[in-house]
Symmetry: C2
Subunit: 416 residues, 2 copies
């Protein structure tokens, strides 16, 4: 028996890497004073039908529950966020800055950087329509990658604007009910054949392809990059109107983050969705919003491919696994005394391990070394004194057991 295709077992090393990523995400989101929340893993399928777009609906892990409800394992967080905000926005001052770390599910063809589950950090600002909110969010997105040691040589945020395209389509007299369809074709540009793109665009093919190859001018996007320049982050951003994003609910700026080498899928993506909260409250409230998500899978690949980022992760996870004290039980008669002490040490917050079964002293010291214990305490013939060995220097000294806690408190290398 093994895990389902596209689902991961997180053995200790993989789990430590995941925890490292989550801890850095949480740390940076908190620097930006974002507040953490979470939603359910299972939601009514209707929540996604309303506005996520056809591609996501096709990929849902969906089923009918015992009470005949149509339910789906969440493929993304934004519809849940909009639902929660629509229900609770009065309880909170605006603008809201919220983040969430959780797992998401899509039944897709497996390929590099794409499993059937992944973890995402979602960050959203609600209640501020001004570009200042877009810039704050873009800066957060950039810092969430810089924290792993990446520089402007490693990744780039490509920023675009759905309004750039809707203005363009309005100018070309394309009726609004065709806009979504055209945006979908632009989103797939480069992934579908040129012939298919031209066929789908019809008489729009020439002007659209011209913009896609030559780029577009947008004062609004220039101002966003100026805002990043104020923060010293302009080198991390490019204007790129080829980005439109697949999700149907975006209304303004959209952006995606890619590795500069161009080897990987998008690392992060997001944009402005000023109508979704209103839609999910059936028009009861209207609330501008902008958000993005960054996933753990592609980010993990980029960390793995970038030596200094990989080194930082490995050092942090190895350090985090160190223990403080290994208790060597040299005489089984001393086991009860040792266990009483172990309880006291753990109560004070020390990480303490010991052999569950009788074991040769040399093997116990070996276990202490493998666990990277700072100290080994030996319980044996010296009782009621305990032999304290500093595992780094090899220094040993005898300490009376009733003075042991005071002695350890003076040790700077311990975690408590």
């Amino acid at each position: 028996m093994q895990a389902l295709p596209g689902f991961r077992d997180f053995l200790p090393d993989a789990c430590a890497a995941r925890n490292y990523i989550f801890a850095r995400w949480r740390e940076v989101a908190r620097r930006y004073c974002f507040v953490e929340w979470d939603g359910p893993l299972l939601e009514p399928t209707d929540l996604y039908k309303k506005k996520s777009g056809a591609e996501i609906i096709d990929q849902l892990f969906k089923f009918t529950d015992k009470a005949e409800r149509e339910v789906a394992m969440r493929p993304e967080l934004t519809p849940t966020f909009a639902r929660v905000i629509a229900a609770h926005e009065r309880e909170f001052k605006k603008p809201l800055k919220w983040f969430s770390i959780g797992q998401f599910f899509r039944y897709e063809k497996q390929q590099r950087g794409r499993l059937r589950e992944h973890f995402q950090l979602n960050c959203d600002i609600v209640g501020e329509a001004a570009p200042a909110a877009d810039i704050e969010l873009l800066a957060l997105c950039i810092d969430l990658l810089r924290v792993f040691g990446f520089t402007e040589k490693d990744f780039v945020v490509r920023i675009s604007d759905r309004e750039f395209w809707t203005d363009f389509l309005r100018e070309k007299d394309v009726p609004p009910d065709r806009w979504d369809e055209v945006l979908q074709v632009i989103d797939k540009f480069g992934r579908e054949s040129r012939e298919k793109t031209i066929e789908k665009l019809g008489k729009l093919a020439n002007p659209v392809l011209k913009v896609l190859s030559e780029g577009g001018k947008s004062e609004k996007l220039d101002r966003l990059v100026d805002g990043l320049r104020d923060r010293g982050l302009a080198e991390f951003a490019d204007i790129d109107v080829r980005i439109v994003r697949g999700l149907a609910y975006y209304t303004g700026i959209v952006f995606e983050v890619f590795d500069r080498a161009g080897n990987l899928r998008a690392i992060a993506g997001g944009g402005r969705y000023d109508n979704l909260i209103g839609l999910l409250s059936n028009g009861a409230i209207s609330m501008p919003a902008v958000g993005f998500a960054v996933g753990d899978v592609v980010l993990g690949e980029l960390i793995n491919e970038t030596p200094h980022a990989r080194g930082a992760l490995q050092r942090a996870t190895a350090d985090d696994r160190k223990i403080d004290i290994y208790i060597v039980i040299a005489k089984e008669e001393r086991r009860a005394d040792a266990l009483a002490q172990i309880q006291q040490l753990r109560d004070r917050g020390y990480r303490v391990d010991y052999p569950l079964a009788p074991m040769k002293v040399a093997r116990q010291f070996q276990a202490a070394e493998e666990a990277r214990a700072a100290l080994a305490l030996l319980y044996g013939d010296e009782w009621p004194q305990v032999k304290v060995k500093n595992m780094a220097t090899g220094d040993q000294r005898l300490v009376p057991q009733d003075r042991l806690l005071a002695h350890l408190q003076a040790q700077p290398s311990l975690s408590s």
Copy 2:
């Protein structure tokens, strides 16, 4: 639109309480030198059919995926754990001490302390058959509750032994293929009517009811309690042979944790399952194991009902939400300067907030207070000096902007 019945939205306060519980769990598990891992949320339904027992199978959120696989959202972790250990045990030294924090799903009637999803901490020791492992695990379970401020007056671990009952049934000449059935009846004792129990037990009714009312003697269980006494934890444990646990895979000691007041469902439960790993490896390996899980829902209720535990949670979560610095932009001409500084401060790890849109100075100071900022920095007429206000004392001083970072480094109340 709202969340599905039995599923929770975690708004910021609830999410902070959840994070507090997870952080304490992780901290204590690490003191015991347990190593974190995790498994998939979705598993083949067969994994649970093998050995979880009929009650869980009935309650599965299960469905058929796009490739016609029978899959289920995980209702518990132990079968996944046994699967992972069966596949990977050679990569790790025994005994293994592993823990995991994750979400689990059961389609049950909603009632107090029982939703359709909850979070669990699972802790398991693999590869050690001696009672020393059972005692280590029981001590961990007790400390995982003590860490919230609970004492022996608040909760009790009721310890029992399936072998006590299988020895009893062997003595009564009950054939082994009926043992599971009898254990299920004992598990339901007190929840089902006495008549139904007597009817189901048949000629075993009298001797079984005698043991259930008078208690049973077990040297093995006495030795476990002695082991807890060595650690000063005996007051947290009672021997209670009425506990047998519903899950089918237990083979030795079993235990459940209850609030002393008897108001709540079980807070935690577990036991020894020496055959499950062998079963999931089709007999390729045999590996003794003992483990337990503690859930967030009942624990959260007990915290909420216990004033000192509730106070500790509230203080910790309020402190965790504090920010370091609120930037007051008194003149909009200074916004770009302020933003450059904000970026530098956040890069150094400070939690820094500021108004996204222009706002009156008095309202900005109010926002600084509401965010419990340690300092407010005012960017206005004094530029290139910055007015630094200590929000606790009200002290203000002007600091040249190029000396601001050095000035802040000397402030002990900041998080970085």
